[in-house]
């Protein structure tokens, strides 16, 4: 039975797996202790739960539990990782390399660093969303201390060649930070195989609760250190003070364990549905997939439907299907997606994009319903679109002098 509304905005957040909630419940109730309380059973139980979760989290990414610093989420981990390295390695240099398609949590952190006297190179990406490795290497200076490239993009799902990036970085003695928020739990991520020194990720993108995430900080080869951005009781080996969110951490651990066991079969099943969705929607005239189709997360598709506007399109079905668009109208900034623009897409195509994020809970019926709804809406809106009419008449829209406003 098809249940509406359908949720296909899983890059924004995922629903929690009921098994995660089940694991968390005791820690909301009688197991409420503070993990830092060393002298009574309540504290012991909490500490034990955190230790166990730390192992579950570490295992998913091939790390040692001691390398996991729990935070409030990926944004905090991005801040701690990048600012922490910038401050800790100030005597080595002040230059950071990142890319224009990074999440705002990275870009705005880098802008902050520029105000503090740091220098940042923002690499542009190729039309498929990938960075050019030669360009990356050429950007490395003697003062470069950190390369920050996301594992997978939140809007287009493009997976970056992290292993190749870290090989280049190591050659030059530069640390690698990666925001892996969208990748961990969806595709295999191994900090050792991938050569990652620091990595941010979060529970709520992998069927865990909101408000808890982690920063991975490498302990050997090389031993990486970050300066704390939050001062206080010296929790998390002095790198992140603040009473641990025990319940959230327990949920995060459980979510990681489930992903560890089910990621492979989930990805297989989900990518079949994603491919069906994409194949069917690409049958619509003038539809374009944004970003690499080859190097991509299995559950993501980003498609532009030329000559219809994204928000107008969403309105056709957003009572029944939850999706997001790169259209300016859906954001507070009134600018279309900077990620899509970085791919070289014209504003018109950026305005016409829809982002699909499937999940473990997505069903075939939901995909069939979505294909039909979107196809109907695109066709209906094109009947209403002056641009579509002009396109059909063979008018080159670029030759028209638009009264830009």
């Amino acid at each position: 039975m098809l249940k509406l509304p359908i949720y296909l905005d899983n890059n924004a957040t995922t629903p929690m797996d009921p098994r995660v909630l089940e694991a968390m419940t005791p820690y909301f109730l009688n197991q409420f202790g503070n993990a830092a309380s060393r002298n009574h059973p309540f504290g012991w139980a909490a500490e034990e739960a955190v230790d166990y979760a730390r192992e579950q989290v570490a295992k998913l990414i091939g790390a040692d539990p001691k390398e996991i610093i729990f935070t409030s989420g990926a944004t905090e981990a991005d801040n701690l990782g990048i600012k922490g390295v910038f401050e800790m390695y100030a005597s080595k240099g002040n230059h950071i390399i990142t890319a224009t398609t990074e999440h705002k949590a990275v870009l705005d952190t880098c802008k902050h660093i520029e105000k503090q006297g740091g220098e940042v190179t923002y690499l542009t990406v190729q039309p498929d969303g990938m960075i050019d490795l030669a360009e990356l290497e050429a950007a490395i200076r003697p003062t470069t201390i950190l390369i920050s490239i996301m594992y997978a993009n939140n809007e287009i799902g493009t997976v970056m060649p992290i292993k190749e990036i870290s090989t280049i970085a190591r050659k030059h003695g530069v640390l690698v930070f990666t925001d892996a928020t969208q990748a961990v739990g969806k595709i295999p991520v191994d900090v050792n195989k991938d050569g990652i020194d620091l990595m941010a990720f979060t529970a709520h993108k992998m069927y865990g609760p909101k408000g808890v995430g982690a920063l991975y900080v490498r302990r050997k080869n090389p031993r990486v250190k970050v300066t704390a951005q939050m001062d206080g009781g010296g929790h998390e080996r002095g790198m992140r003070s603040g009473t641990l969110n025990v319940t959230g951490i327990v949920g995060f651990g459980k979510a990681c364990e489930l992903c560890m066991n089910e990621m492979e079969s989930d990805a297989k099943r989900i990518s079949v549905m994603r491919d069906k969705l994409e194949t069917e929607l690409m049958k619509i005239e003038e539809a374009y997939v944004n970003g690499s189709r080859e190097h991509r997360l299995p559950h993501v598709a980003n498609i532009s439907f030329k000559h219809v506007e994204g928000e107008g399109l969403l309105m056709g079905f957003n009572k029944n299907i939850a999706l997001s668009s790169g259209s300016a109208c859906t954001s507070a900034s009134l600018e279309p997606s900077y990620v899509l623009k970085a791919l070289g897409l014209g504003d018109d195509l950026a305005h016409s994009s829809l982002r699909f994020g499937l999940s473990r809970f997505t069903t075939d019926e939901e995909i069939d319903y979505t294909i039909k709804s979107i196809t109907d809406t695109v066709l209906k809106l094109r009947e209403m679109s002056p641009l579509w009419e002009m396109y059909k008449e063979g008018i080159d829209l670029n030759t028209i002098e638009w009264a830009a406003h």
């Binding site: 000559h307 219809v308 506007e309 994204g310 928000e311 107008g312 309105m315 056709g316 259209s327 300016a328 109208c329 009134l334 279309p336 014209g346 504003d347 018109d348 305005h351 009947e383 209403m384 679109s385 002056p386 641009l387 579509w388 009419e389 829209l397 028209i400 638009w402 009264a403 830009a404 406003h405």
Partner: protein
């Protein structure tokens, strides 16, 4: 952001979607907005040159639901009005009628601009001088 019922109704059942013969002397066409900005409105009026009354109005819009609703509503209001009356349609009346939130006011401005552009096109075709309008400011 929730849409008003009137916006939803115009979006779902748009009035007067279509195309008039833009080569006809009785038809005025206004094309405003730009694809880069995420909205383009084309509004057309057909005028009885003897009575100066607008006998038909059609639109096509590329844009969000509020832009579609604003142009749909504009065509409804245009039909049966004289050209002079049509010039008095103010964007704020569209805002009030559709309950547009502040971020969508530009949709109503676009509709007002489209009406004026269509009227000027009609005037020009019929040997009348174009009316100079003050630049709309809300963009």
């Amino acid at each position: 952001m929730a849409y008003s019922e009137k916006v939803i109704d115009h979006y779902q059942n748009p009035k007067n979607v279509g195309t008039l013969d833009k080569a006809s002397k009785n038809v005025g066409t206004g094309l405003v907005g730009a694809p880069e900005c995420g909205d383009v409105m084309r509004l057309q009026i057909e005028v009885n040159s003897e009575t100066g009354m607008i006998t038909d109005a059609k639109f096509k819009t590329f844009g969000c639901g509020s832009a579609i609703a604003s142009s749909s509503l504009a065509t409804e209001w245009l039909k049966g009005k004289s050209v002079d009356e049509a010039l008095k349609i103010d964007n704020m009346t569209i805002v009030e009628e559709l309950n547009l939130p502040p971020v969508k006011i530009h949709c109503s401005v676009l509709a007002e601009d489209a009406i004026k552009a269509a009227i000027n096109d009609y005037r020009e075709k019929n040997g009348m001088e174009k009316i100079k309008f003050e630049e709309s400011v809300i963009h």
